[in-house]
Amino acid sequence: MPKDQGIGASSKRREDVRFLTGRGVYTDDLSLHGQTHAVFVRSTVAHGRIKAIDTAAAAAMPGVLAVFTGEDFKDMGGNPAGWLINSRNGEPMREPKRPVLAHGKVRHVGDAYAAVVAETFQQAKDAAQQLADDSDIEELPAIVDMAAALADSSNRVHDEIPDNQCFDWGWIEDNRAAVDAAIKAAPHVTTLELVNNRLVPNAMEPRASIGEYFPGTGDYKLTTTSQNPHLHRLLIAAFVMGMPENKLTVVAPDVGGGFGSKIYHYGEEAVVLAAAKKLARPVRWTAERSESFLSDAHGRDHVTKIELACEKDGTFIAFRTETMANVGAYLSNFSTATPTFLHGTLMAGPYKVPNVYVNVKTVFTNTAPVDAYRGAGRPEATFSLERVIDKMCRELGLDPFEVRRKNLLTKDMFPYTTPVGLAYDTGDYHATLDKAMAMADVAGFEARRAESAKKGKLRGMGLSTWIEACGIAPSNLVGVLGSRVGLYDAATVRVNATGNISVMTGAHSHGQGHETVFAQIVAEKLGVPEASVEIVHGDTSKIPFGMGSYGSRSLAVCGSAMNRAVDKIIAKGKKIAAHMLEAAEDDITFENGNFSVAGTDKAKSFGEIAFSAYVPHNYPLETLEPGLEETAFYDPANFTYPAGAYICEVEVDPDTGKVDVAAFYCADDFGNVMNPMIVEGQVHGGVGQGIGQALCENTSYDESGQLLSGSYMDYAMPRADDVPFYNVDYSCQTPCTHNPLGVKGCGEAGAIGSPPAVVNAVIDALHRGGHTHVTHIDMPVSPSRVWSAING
């Protein structure tokens, strides 16, 4: 009998009631007295020198209240990269200043270099166009191709960075000689060159910000689309605008998706705050969809060569990769961590492989900044590994299932330290592989293939055995690795006098279902109905502190902080109960919402204890503070390591090259599962995004740096008929060993594990159809690419 509430129940997502009935309140829904409208002037060239901006005509237009250019912000701080990476030679990365508004040069199409604030949106829009017309920007040759950017110091994105390289990172440099020697001596080496395609995040809600300034107190307030309001506050207050943190409140109300793109601080946020102060009126801005395409931090964009050295029987000996990772025109906040510590550290996969070496060169180009996008580095690692393994199996005539089985770490090997610096705490990768194979009825594939063949379709099956590191992250470890912040989280549990509970979490929910799941956990632990627990997030003035939601960390890190705060509530409740029941504290047990004296029928309910804490007439006031509110911070001891096996079946139409995903099977190990329905939903969404990357989505810049896929006419998002009904299993559970809930995180898994399963399936279909000359097709595996590969 499934539970109907608490941990493990598929409680309905309470937030969906307002989301599905149009009652959510997003930033753009707010309407403030006296509000004004900002519109940004964005570069139409990829690379240009700003020679002059004549603001006079725009400033004189009807309704215009203020005009800003980069000149107005040139003395403010830069928007920093959150992670300092050193090159192989020990030199620190090159970190050019990222100004609030472009100053001196514009560096990508969409780079904002001026802004207009006016009484109405239309007035601001008209004046912004006037300002664009009155801007003299000398177009410079665009730097778009990464290899060319590295090779040519005569043309520079940032004048002070000669070869357009941010850093040249080796991981782990001490492994290099051994890896080189192992590959040289190996009986077989498979090499694969591939592109991990650039993606636009496409959150349903575009970025938006409202700046307010209160002259009476000198306080600022920013309402914005943020995955992490405290991180925004820190970046804006301490790094960019130079104000005390306690004079800035950041509120992120309902946020319609982020996928990483709303982790980061963007210049528009500082502009609306500065403008609000100048005008002493609220200043609002909501991105148009075109602006989202041009200026949200994009994802992926790696060009990789990977080599797999193995025995003739498929036993892995070594992996070696060389990657160029595009960071775009400026370093976004996580952009240096994504291709390094979220990518290189995963390059051993879930496998027994003694030798791994990863080289990553990050390159500045005249394109939008690139940063973490659902999965962030781990999809790139997984795709490289799973594709090269698949290619090796074909070269050696080996069964991909058996090769995985032979090389996967076995469950008796944990804890296991990889050659690329991670310590996997627990797992059972054979269990998820077996589960996925059973779900997918691998043995019955040949019959299904024959059925497809009758329709003229080529059917193929692809496998991906993936692992990721999430639950980001142990602060002391990331500090050693270059992070400029800690990655703990915090929660406050406030029991009100009447027994209901408010929980303030540092994690921010922008679609994940925290309001439901976090309430389930608190309700379970305190023995109260879920409905009496309210989750409060997204407001720096209400919540203690938090690093926000990304990297599948909310439950593992913030959930653990919340769990710890609940434990403190229970501990204090026992003290109160001991006093009220005239018993020793050690004799008090707490179960099903009741504090009891062990071995007796003497008990006080949770509600009675809460009431007593706030009406302390019979209360140990001399030793115990009244009230029942506890805060806990939690810093994880390690990353968590979800893993799983994904099997995809596709049908390829050899006449058109069209790929249809016929079936998709996911066997995941997320550790303990708090809400199965939400976990399934997270996997569905992640796999949908992975199929989108594999089959549909591509961000295309031409050689002059113009974004060619700047709307939904040219940027193909996956639609309902592009994805199959998913088969998701999470029954293989090896609970995380180092957090109290035993959870690992499920938010990114689908986007990490699925792209190689899809592409492997397409290659398999083509080979079974006799097109054995096709060894690889870059994503998106579009009909034209498949047709060209078949007929090429």
């Binding site: 139409t44 199409v109 075109s290 002059s704 113009q706 060619l708 700047g710």
Partner: protein, 172 residues
Amino acid sequence: MELKDQRDINASPEIVWAAILDPEVLKACVPGCESMTGSPEEGYEAVVVQKVGPVKAKFTGVVTLSDIVEGREVTITGEGKGGPAGFAKGGAKVTLTPEGDGTRLSYDVDAKVGGKLAQLGSRIIDGFAKKMADQFFARFQEAVEGPPEPDGTELDGSDQPKKGWFKRVLGG
């Protein structure tokens, strides 16, 4: 995008060359051209209205002639700003060679768009540019030669082939 093509024009290279340098001819031949002023030496200022897929815009810009080899070669370069639509720019290298009694006009066009035109119209920009070039040179041919004869009969009863307006102006 790049495109190359050629047309045989039933007029001498001298006449074709003179037509290319005539701003009235350019104005009449550029599709959507609302105004064009200037001279071959100083360049022209032009206003062109065009619709590229979903984006309609009025482009204001300059057209310059360069790399002139008298009577044989010229490069026509244009750059127009289309306000919110972004910008378009391009060049056509035009070469004239005698071909019998007429002239073979070869052109080599390189066109680029930027801003919203690129973001929204890139799918159709190649076809659009080809259409623009085809229209331009078709109109040019017509201006020099006269309209194509639908059935080969001369409506005015003259034995002379019908002249294009440019030839008529020249009195040739």
